[in-house]
């Protein structure tokens, strides 16, 4: 009896993850070839936002928590990284680490305050904290207020590789993006991720099995904030600027949109979503403010017509995991 039961068990597991492995290799290949065909700076920006959206998706897609203040971690990591590189003269890798750690700390504080709340209250608290820190960024000296921190030096990685060369910078961003992407994939497919899944499926039952669910949610929140910070810090080095845009609430909304368009709770969805939204902003730049209207229409269309998002719908049609 048990042998019969074990046979499909062994066969089923690899089949479910094979589609993910193939998709990952395709994505990596495209990102390696792409800079020879289009603007590397645009691609680096896409990767930063894709990582931001992936980090956000870790929370909403895999724990079911909607944070409406993720710009806080993205933007503040970007400020600290820019400041560290420009004023303290740290090498880029250390500056990015400084930004990431800042986001982790802010995530821990915000998480402790918000995690016991559910649904809309959770979203509101995260938004309120993010706005509070936005106004702080607006007033504080070191952020440069309306001007932001401009002219951030890219510096030399480990003091050796000059990131002033676009392709060197590209390789660094690619490595950071793929590394963090794999880490997120691992988090979802870890013993910890298994508990997160159980909490999302049936929190009361998870509690009755002895899980202190708030602690797991807090951990997920901090991980998500930290990775959003890595994205923001990397972006500051790439674009050589940290500004109010990155820490303001429309940025929190944009990451929701990217994740939703790509596919909530799919590992590749946020990447596609970030690519689509940024491409649109880039291509539609000539029409000015109308971009926002078009984004709004897409948002509505997503919610009404294809709730699973682009990748979510593909996964459903081809019956694979993505």
């Amino acid at each position: 009896m048990e042998q019969v039961a074990e046979a499909p068990l062994r066969a089923a597991a690899p089949a479910r993850t094979r589609s993910e492995t193939i998709a990952f290799l395709i994505m990596a290949a495209i990102l390696i070839i792409a800079p020879f065909f289009t603007y590397p700076l645009f691609l680096m920006q896409v990767m930063c936002f894709a990582l931001f959206a992936c980090a956000f998706n870790l929370l909403i897609g895999y724990v079911g928590l909607l944070s409406f203040g993720h710009a806080l971690y993205f933007g503040w990591a970007s400020y600290v990284c820019a400041h560290a590189a420009k004023v303290w003269g740290l090498t880029p890798e250390l500056a990015i680490i400084a930004g990431t750690l800042t986001a982790a700390g802010l995530g821990l504080i915000a998480g402790l305050l918000a995690i016991r709340r559910q649904g809309i209250y959770f979203a509101m608290i995260t938004l309120a904290l993010a706005q509070m820190m936005y106004f702080f960024a607006l007033q504080a000296k070191f952020t440069g207020g309306e001007d932001g921190i401009q002219g951030v030096p890219r510096g030399k990685l480990f003091g050796v590789f000059d990131l002033g060369h676009t392709m060197t910078m590209y390789v660094v961003v690619l490595v950071i993006f793929l590394g963090c992407f794999l880490l997120i994939h691992r988090i979802i497919n870890s013993p910890f991720g298994e508990v997160l899944k159980a909490i999302r499926e049936n929190e009361a039952r998870a509690i009755s099995l002895g899980y202190k669910t708030d602690r797991y949610k807090l951990m997920a929140f901090v991980l998500s904030a930290t990775l959003a910070g890595t994205a923001g810090a990397t972006k500051a080095i790439v674009l050589q600027i940290a500004s109010l845009t990155d820490v303001n609430w429309p940025m929190s909304g944009e990451v929701v949109l990217m994740t939703l368009v790509g596919g909530l709770g799919t590992i590749f969805g946020p990447v596609i979503g970030a690519f689509v939204i940024l491409t649109m902003q880039y291509k539609l730049a000539p029409v000015g403010e109308w971009v926002l209207v078009i984004q709004g229409v897409i948002f509505v269309a997503c919610v009404l017509l294809f709730r699973r998002g682009i990748v979510g719908e593909l996964a459903r049609i081809f019956k694979i995991k993505l």
Binding site: M1, S190, F192, G193, K197, E201, G210, Y211, K212
Partner: protein, 251 residues
């Protein structure tokens, strides 16, 4: 004498905005028995149950488990002491497989549940134990099924397997046979009897006839109060109980 009592409540009371759902219930559950809490709709059974597992905080009264006052503990802590509950609506993790459902319970005790850097393949070490528990409740041919696809009776069996994975000293089952057909009722009743061989079971039940052959002690609640207590003979012959049930007890 006191050592034989595993769970005890004293004057347990719960009020909801002026409405008294549970009123001064003093309950003693003897170790190693199957104890039923029965009563008509709205008698306060489920409220009482939620109080015992700390999913609700009592307005008044004390709860002692193995001689220790657990009135102020959090629900997860109560579960860690070996007092594990089920739910009225079947409590499974719907989009996880039968195997994953049971493993979630096994993994908690091993303390690797915060390891986000490890592969979930490390959870395969629990497969053997999980498959044994699954076989125990007769679900071996459903191992790879998603819990949501299981028929109702099988879901309850899965829930019991998951609860058993924690090896609890005491199980609290909230209407384990609600909404089941006769065949399923018999199977779950047999299962409860079997798992109760070396643990204590407190179950909430709506229907008196279901607990007739299963339970050692029966406590009847009506309108939040204890109406009668004793074995099936005593309780079913109590005129007040007959009246409270208006015949449904022998349906």
């Amino acid at each position: 004498m006191n050592n034989d009592i595993i769970l005890e409540t004293e004057d347990l009371t719960k009020e909801f905005a002026g409405f008294v759902a549970v009123s001064g219930v003093s309950l003693k559950v003897a170790r190693g028995t199957i104890h039923a809490l029965i009563g008509p709709n709205g008698a306060g059974k489920t409220t009482c149950f939620n109080l015992l597992t700390k999913f609700l905080a009592p307005t008044k009264g004390r709860i002692r488990y193995k001689g220790r006052d657990i009135t102020a503990l959090a629900p997860a802590d109560v579960a860690r002491l070996g007092l594990v509950r089920s739910f009225q609506i079947s409590a499974v993790f719907p989009h996880m497989t039968v195997l994953e459902n049971v493993r979630i319970a096994l993994q908690r005790q091993r303390g690797t549940s915060f390891d986000f850097w490890r592969s979930s393949k490390t959870l395969d070490q629990y497969n053997e134990r999980a498959l044994a528990l699954i076989a125990d409740v007769g679900l071996s041919s459903f191992v790879e099924w998603q819990a949501v696809e299981l028929p109702y009776g099988r879901k309850r069996a899965l829930e019991i397997a998951t609860t058993l994975a924690l090896d609890p000293e005491m199980m609290l089952l909230d209407e384990p046979m609600a909404g089941m057909g006769h065949e399923d009722i018999d199977r779950i009743a047999a299962l409860i009897k079997r798992v109760a061989a070396d643990r204590t079971v407190l179950m909430v039940e709506h229907n008196l006839s279901v607990v007739e052959n299963l339970c050692d002690t029966i406590t009847v609640l009506t309108r939040g109060r204890v109406l009668a207590e004793g074995n099936y003979e005593t309780v079913s012959n109590n005129p007040e109980v007959r009246e409270a049930y208006m015949g449904t007890g022998h349906a």
